[in-house]
């Protein structure tokens, strides 16, 4: 029940966001520098989750496809990317799954508008309707004939309909998001066609296929102009299930989506396995709150001061109440960096990992690229655990070695501020019998002139919030996810678009995505060698 309640609240709030702009829909005016690099023409296989939603939209069958398929390839940690492939193992599994789903769908009423496949008119009608829904565009004459023949080959009734659905769900035009464009726009560029624009909008903002209204807008040519795209984008962002896409992004950005596959020492953390699902649910609910009500900024993710928890996590955190906005006052927790999902994901099985926690802040909030030990020619030799030393004392070995110190001075100091939380994210006051020490002089970025003295990760968060780079860094990571690529040159074009927004809008992920949608970066592609 609670889940449904939140959904309704979200839908209403998201709608408010969309409606408040009615009458004078703001279309950001963004220009790309003439030499800006664009995304290449490409075909991107949808992620397992995108396919799950797409298959549901075509068949109406609520199958959890993504749990059954071999896992996605990741680039920079993100699942939407052009490296996603169709391997033999993936294809055979997918074929078996969609064959069964198609058979189930074909037995249901309402999937096809007619059932007399002996009639040419009915075949044409079914192929045109289902084809457009699956391939997200009208079928070509060739395609229509081909699929109509398929119906003939497979007799009549459910068997024929099942074969048609199966063929559509297995079609490369269904599996891949086409970004090939039409004709030439000069300067080695092409513009995406109307239906490609519709699919881009839908998969970018919702992680799922375009709805009927979007296809109609494409058909009418409304998406060619920035205003038309922005209008549709605001409509999509107002839909309640758009939250799933933002949840997924934050989970992958925060590197907590693997949480259910992690383990802790059952001796030290016997409650971990049972709490894991609640930890993940907390972060998901929190993302909903922040993305809808909190300005969708990294600042709100880091420091909103509330938790979105049920009774289980409230008990774990020692909160006096639970709900979508339970106060965290007095707990030392302020936002996503003090959530158990983050703390547990960035820790070892038995002890905390200041290195992993510090490394996350450097990479994902400050966008600092640290060299890995191998790149510096350092062969890491792990020191044997010494029960007399605290974790912090043991890691001080890093800075004793000048080769390691260059990075670890910065990295470990940030990580030490999290020592108030143990390897599963619970409160920790002592480590190996000694009081924990969360104080550190942190340098927020290698170019930072001075260090900042902080006494805990909550204070570190406050210091981060005063560091302008975190907003840009968050936008860069978001762009990697939402545009499904990580080319630094293209990222620079995106940052040029973002720079043109007013400063308040620049911090809102929603407004930044709207600006991206309005820009040529969204609508055009750079032609790569044919």
């Amino acid at each position: 029940m609670r889940g449904t309640g939140i959904l309704v609240v979200l839908a209403a709030a998201a709608l408010a966001l969309a409606c408040s702009r009615q009458g004078a829909p703001a279309v950001p005016r963004v220009e790309l520098p003439a030499d800006a690099r664009l995304l290449p023409t490409r075909v991107r296989r949808l992620t397992n989750l995108e396919l799950e939603r797409s298959v549901r939209a075509v068949t109406g069958v609520e199958a959890e496809l993504s749990r059954e398929l071999p896992p996605d390839i990741r680039q920079e940690g993100y699942t939407p990317n052009a490296g996603q492939d169709v391997s033999a193992a993936w294809a055979t599994r997918y074929a078996a799954l969609v064959s069964a789903i198609s058979a189930r769908a074909a037995e249901r009423a309402g999937v096809a508008s007619c059932s007399d496949f002996g009639s040419q008119a009915c075949r044409a009608e079914v192929v045109a309707t289902l084809g457009r829904r699956a391939l997200r565009r009208p079928l070509s004459a060739d395609e229509r004939l081909d699929y109509e023949r398929l119906l003939v080959e497979n007799g009549s009734g459910p068997a024929a309909l099942s074969a048609l659905l199966h063929a559509l769900l297995q079609a490369p035009s269904f599996l891949y998001l086409s970004e090939l464009g039409r004709g030439s726009a000069g300067l080695g560029r092409v513009v995406l066609d109307d239906y490609e624009l519709a699919s881009q909008l839908a998969y970018t903002l919702r992680g799922g296929p375009p709805d009927e209204q979007l296809l109609v807008a494409a058909e009418a040519g409304h998406l060619r102009a920035a205003a038309g795209r922005v209008h549709e984008a605001r409509r999509l962002l107002g839909q309640s299930d758009t939250r799933l896409q933002f949840r997924r992004f934050v989970l992958e950005w925060l590197e907590v989506d693997y949480l259910l596959q992690t383990a802790k020492s059952s001796k030290l953390f016997p409650s971990y396995d049972a709490l894991k699902p609640f930890m993940l649910a907390e972060t998901e609910s929190y993302v909903d709150e922040v993305m809808v009500h909190g300005g969708a900024s990294v600042a709100s993710l880091l420091g909103s001061g509330f938790a979105s928890v049920g009774p289980e996590m409230a008990r774990f955190y020692g909160l006096s109440s639970y709900g979508p906005r339970a106060s965290l006052s007095g707990t030392g927790r302020v936002g996503v960096l003090q959530q158990a999902s983050f703390l547990a994901s960035h820790a070892h099985e038995d002890v905390t990992s200041p290195v992993k926690r510090g490394d996350f802040v450097m990479r994902k909030l400050l966008c600092e690229k640290l060299k890995r030990p191998a790149e510096l020619g350092i062969e890491v030799v792990m020191p044997p655990p010494d029960p007399r030393l605290s974790n912090r004392e043991r890691l001080s070995q890093h800075v004793a070695d000048p080769g390691c110190a260059s990075c670890h001075l910065t990295l470990d100091a940030i990580g030490f501020t999290f020592e108030g939380f143990d390897a599963m994210g619970g409160k920790q006051e002592r480590d190996h019998g000694k009081p924990v020490d969360q104080r550190a002089d942190v340098r927020l970025g290698q170019a930072a002139r001075a260090t900042v003295a902080v006494r805990s990760s909550a204070e570190l968060t406050q210091a981060l919030l005063k560091t302008p780079v975190i907003s840009e860094c968050f936008a860069r990571h978001a762009f990697r996810y939402f545009s499904a690529q990580a080319d630094p040159a293209v990222e620079a074009s995106f940052l040029a678009v973002r720079e043109q927004l007013a400063s308040a809008q620049r911090d809102s992920l929603l407004e930044v995505l709207i600006a991206y949608v309005a820009s040529d970066l969204f609508a055009y592609r750079e032609v790569t060698a044919p």
């Binding site: 490409r42 075909v43 383990a263």
Partner: protein, 448 residues
């Protein structure tokens, strides 16, 4: 027309017979039985003190981790006379770019770091060299406990640089290999096959249309898709089974490491090994890999801690010229090693029972040598070569070099030599900016 272009067209069905002819041309003159290749990943490096054979190739001394290979009482026969122990194989291309330690398994069969785009040896043999053309499954890729796409969790990699998904559920492996997914009755099967064929025809047409418009950079991806469609087609082709179908494995509620699957891993591993051996013996495939899990949380050995990873492999304390090391730590790690090798011995036993051992080369390796150092040098490498391979077996090859024996031989050379055993006359294998790593073969393998 370049080879890759021709292969691409062939894959799309435009020059259908090309692949077949090419494969026939490359194969060695027909021997009695087709050659087979299996590679097994074993976790946590090795305790060198108890892994290195002693004296006259003694592998059954007290505490030896190789003991299962000379244990006829447990595994039906001794496999010592088929064994070559390779000491001093380095995962050099990975070390060059930092793909080491837990990521080292990326390098074992590819000879490339994380940025490599070439296929691993198994996929090269099965797909590019055509060893998998004539069997219902071009290759099979199995694992225990981990089916993620992480760099460190896979030894089989496709051309293009993506991991080949692993089957970790024995019930799924059984269904894929021996099940009748097309329906129980003959006519149902025929109908399903016809429907599958007509679906596949449309998929091919659509792929052709898309490929005609896609830029060159996307070609590898679409070519791989076309290869995958051939695999679907193979499943639709009726195969007369040449052997008995084994009994179906039980369903396991939990299958994943860190997800509660650990208590079942021992049983799952045995089933995976048995199914793999059966697949090879029945000629359902000729190429396979198996990624083994460790003993963490298995509670199989009371003398081992729950967390074998942190408390055994991280605490291995090796003996070297200046340091006596800790024998207790060797024995604990050797127990883990012996457990993994026991599963490999089981595989050899099952292959022997199925009459496929003489025609199979079994390769095993790990991502690390010394696991406490997370070092990808001197990874423990074993070969079990059947008679068909005409190798000088039953010996220990010490390839370590340098003053303190810290240098080894790049695994790329081993991969070249292994590929040649299947008639692929390669000069190099793998990718690295340091080209000197890639060329050359491991001549010592042939007793030169």
């Amino acid at each position: 027309m370049s080879v890759s272009r021709r292969r691409f067209l062939a894959a799309l069905g435009l020059t259908g017979v090309f692949l077949q002819r090419e494969a026939e041309g490359r194969e060695a003159p027909a021997a009695a039985a087709p050659k087979r290749f299996v590679s097994v990943y074993t976790p946590h490096g090795r305790a060198h003190e108890l892994w290195q054979p002693r004296g006259a190739f003694d592998i059954a001394f007290e505490g030896s981790s190789l003991q299962p290979f000379d244990d006829a009482a447990s595994y039906g026969s001794s496999f010592r006379d088929r064994l070559i122990v390779l000491d001093g194989i380095d995962l050099s291309a990975g070390i060059e770019v930092g793909t080491t330690g837990h990521d080292g398994s990326r390098v074992i069969l590819t000879g490339s770091g994380a940025d490599g785009k070439n296929a691993s040896l198994d996929q090269f043999l099965a797909v590019e060299h055509g060893l998998g053309n004539d069997t219902p499954h071009t290759s099979i890729t199995l694992g225990v406990g981990a089916d993620g796409s992480d760099v460190g969790a896979n030894i089989s990699w496709s051309r293009g640089g993506t991991p080949v998904p692993k089957w970790i559920d024995p019930a799924r492996v059984f269904a894929e290999l021996f099940g009748a997914p097309l329906g129980a009755r003959r006519e149902e099967q025929e109908r399903a096959r016809a429907a599958g064929k007509s679906v596949l025809d449309r998929t091919r047409s659509d792929l052709k249309r898309l490929a005609a418009r896609a830029p060159r950079a996307e070609r590898v991806k679409l070519e791989q898709h076309a290869t995958a469609l051939r695999e679907i087609e193979k499943r639709l082709t009726h195969v007369e089974r040449r052997c008995d179908v084994p009994s179906a494995p039980p369903a396991f509620e939990r299958l994943r490491a860190y997800g509660g699957g650990e208590p079942h891993f021992d049983a799952i591993t045995d089933l995976q090994v048995d199914l793999l051996a059966r697949a090879l013996s029945c000629d359902l495939t000729r190429v396979a890999t198996l990624y083994l899990a460790d003993l963490t949380r298995s509670r199989l050995y009371p003398e081992l801690p729950e967390d074998v990873h942190s408390e055994v492999s991280h605490r291995y304390d090796a003996r070297d010229q200046h340091h006596a090391g800790s024998p207790e730590s060797w024995h604990k790690l050797a127990l883990q090693n012996r457990y993994s090798y026991g599963k490999v011995a089981r595989l050899l036993q099952r292959l022997h029972e199925g009459g496929a051992l003489d025609s199979t080369l079994v390769h095993t390796s790990s991502d690390m040598g010394d696991p406490a150092r997370h070092s990808s040098r001197h990874v423990p490498t074993l070969l079990f070569a059947g008679a068909a391979f005409e190798l000088k077996t039953c010996r220990y090859l010490d390839l370590r070099r340098g003053k303190r024996q810290q240098e080894g031989v790049p695994n790329n050379r081993l991969l070249v030599s292994l590929a040649r055993l299947y008639g692929a006359e390669l000069q190099r294998f793998g990718q690295s900016r340091n080209a000197s790593l890639l060329t050359g073969s491991l001549d010592a393998l042939h007793g030169v």
